[in-house]
Symmetry: none
Subunit: 403 residues, 2 copies
């Protein structure tokens, strides 16, 4: 939903405790008029000039109180700002949401291209993360271990003696005891996400536009599918686009007519939205899944978009003809995949067709496999089948042993 109004009025129309998450990127108190030019030639802008800091803070305070009202008990708020006023803003947030509900000061870092000046180059912005209450919703996301970590050691169980000295745990026979499954490293409050590249900005052209990746990360940790997101200063609508992509519901408010129009365009025309994102480098992951890309990355190949039968061609030709590759999709049976690939391959005069299966095929032999089609199983699949075989055999042996 889009509301074209000052967010103070806009939020007042919403009922108490109905919103799961609020992200806002209000004016930063830069005392400048923010402007930039869009690809359509329009000039977008808004004023960030104020009588005094006092009036700026009052403006924010009124609106933050309303946000507090509409936020659910399990909800969170993310306020994006920079060093211009972050200290005063945090005091406001402490007042309105309570010091105890301060969760994190998220640092968004980026490398930026800029001329040298006397002093350090500003390469970060701050996002304050407060919750409405201690029982806020939070999805812990685990990441990779640091390369300097010796994982094989960490996987061993350890114990400490009375003095606190740690050592590896061993069983009675002196063997090392392995620890339980590990989850990985929880996400830090410092986020290194590339600044929106200038070409992408050209496409939408709204000043202070944020990268979708940043919003997606916020949505991932603080909301689930179907949750309701509010962005009271939605600008060009990045939050709303992220919400739509991630199947969240959303309300965007902006006082600026151009902003609302821009949001409508971005949201109503998903294809254009996708192409915008494609430039930023987010969408390739949507036409091909990460798993598919990982498989294809092992072949020297060129990736084909929008073809149901072929995912890629090998760079090298065999028998003077191209080799087509297809990965079985999750919703395809092996037979369907074989059919799609052999049809598409025939049209292109391929010498070989490579089909990679990702799902168990049952025991039946595959039918209608052209003689030049090579069928491979994904590592996962092959691994799972072999483990299965092994366990089945082990069990049967045990049964025989008991007889």
């Amino acid at each position: 939903m889009l509301i074209h109004d000052d967010c103070l009025n806009g939020i007042k129309t919403l009922a108490k405790e109905t919103v799961d998450m609020i992200y806002l990127d209000p004016p930063f108190f830069t005392q400048k008029h923010q402007m930039s030019r869009g690809s359509n030639g329009n000039v977008y802008g808004f004023s960030d000039v104020w009588d005094s800091r006092q009036s700026y803070l009052l403006f924010l305070k009124e609106r933050l109180s309303e946000m507090h009202r509409v936020l659910k008990d399990t909800g969170s708020i993310f306020l994006h700002c920079d060093t211009s006023s972050s200290h005063y803003i945090r005091i406001l947030l402490d007042e309105i949401f309570g010091e105890d509900n301060f969760r994190s000061e998220i640092i968004w870092t980026y490398k930026r291209w800029s001329n040298s000046k006397k002093g350090l180059l500003a390469g970060h912005q701050t996002i304050f993360f407060y919750s409405k209450s201690p029982n806020f919703k939070f999805n812990v996301i685990y990441g990779e271990y640091s390369p300097t970590t010796n994982l094989d050691q960490i996987l061993q169980e350890r114990e400490r003696n009375a003095v606190g000295k740690a050592s590896y745990k061993r069983d009675k026979s002196g063997n090392i005891v392995m620890a339980k499954e590990k989850r990985g490293v929880p996400m830090s409050d410092v986020w290194d996400i590339p600044f929106l590249n200038p070409k992408a900005r050209e496409r939408v052209g709204y000043p202070t536009q944020k990268p979708v990746e940043l919003l997606q990360r916020i949505l991932r940790i603080s909301t689930d599918e179907g949750d309701l997101i509010l962005d009271p200063f939605c600008g060009s609508g990045t939050t709303l686009v992220a919400a739509k992509l991630m199947l969240r519901n959303f309300i965007g408010i902006d006082v600026n007519t151009d902003a609302i129009k821009l949001c409508q365009e971005r949201l109503s025309n998903p294809i254009k939205t996708e192409s915008t994102l494609l430039k930023v480098g987010v969408i390739p992951y949507q036409t091909k899944t990460t798993a598919e890309l990982a498989i294809l990355s092992q072949f020297e190949c060129d990736i084909v978009q929008r073809n149901k039968g072929i995912d890629a061609f090998l760079k090298k030709h065999y028998l003077d003809a191209p080799v087509a590759i297809k990965i079985q999709k999750v919703n395809e049976t092996p037979e369907q995949a074989i059919r799609l690939l052999s049809d598409a391959g025939a049209k292109r005069n391929c010498s070989f067709l490579v089909l990679i299966l990702q799902k168990a095929t049952g025991t039946n032999e595959l039918k209608n496999v052209p003689s030049n089609m090579i069928i491979l199983k994904s590592y996962e699949l092959e691994f799972r089948q072999k483990v299965n075989d092994y366990i089945v055999e082990m069990c049967s042996q045990r049964v025989i042993g008991h007889m």
Copy 2:
């Protein structure tokens, strides 16, 4: 020089405008008693518990005013704090040093041993950088260009037309105009410096001890040799050690007797841990090739560095034990790879071992394969072998046909 006293008294003994730089790392208002044990068995600590934030801020304010007095016109102050009170502290600094003399909010980021929590892991602290006046001393330090930067572009002169569109400058004959030599990228305000590791020799056991490297960076940008540095909360004396190593003069003040003793000891033998991580960067730790990473990316696994026998462990355990993965290296025969993996796997009590072969094995059966080792072939290898089989068969058929 070392002064054993409350810094309020200590600074009062100093003359007006005599100090070039002040670094302070005051209590953070954590409301905890900070304690830790030194290698000599001593227990060091200080109290960071206060009646109220008010009294904490008053304490700081009195001392900051004195610091302002002794700082030279060209001098700077760096105040180290964390999210506990950074917002209030910055308002104090605005008051005492002036908003216009705010130079940077430096973010010190690090990775750290930790535990999972509901929320984001704190991985940064803040250093506020203010100057006494606009004509502060500052040494601009240039770093490397990021690898994604197009160097051609940097080396070409650019110009903007009336509309503000940038293009490469050309001379009258249409040749590209090369720019003057560039010096690199000026330093950002986000500093990634490893946290003082529990095992670092530099560690003296004083709580909240900071890495020497951090202080050296501050000294480098804000002072020259022979300048006078003041640290009014010198603790274990890291600032003083950095100053001594970099030939700056220094005054350290602390109320704590143990702290002063520790400083004396440390200064007589200043040690800086040669952080290999900092010296060589994170790359040498990453020992996997892109091809290997591509293969591993298809498993849900944690990557292991510095182990010849194991490249990764599956995140999921099978039969209540971990599963180790190894990829055959280009210079390993299958037999060697099998041997390395089975040895390493035995030590770690793995339920299964997965070996991925990347090179043709000849026709011989593999020997000494443990029963719980699963051998997979890389897609490339499998593909090439099957293509080979196919062609061989095709040829033989043709030969038969010709007979």
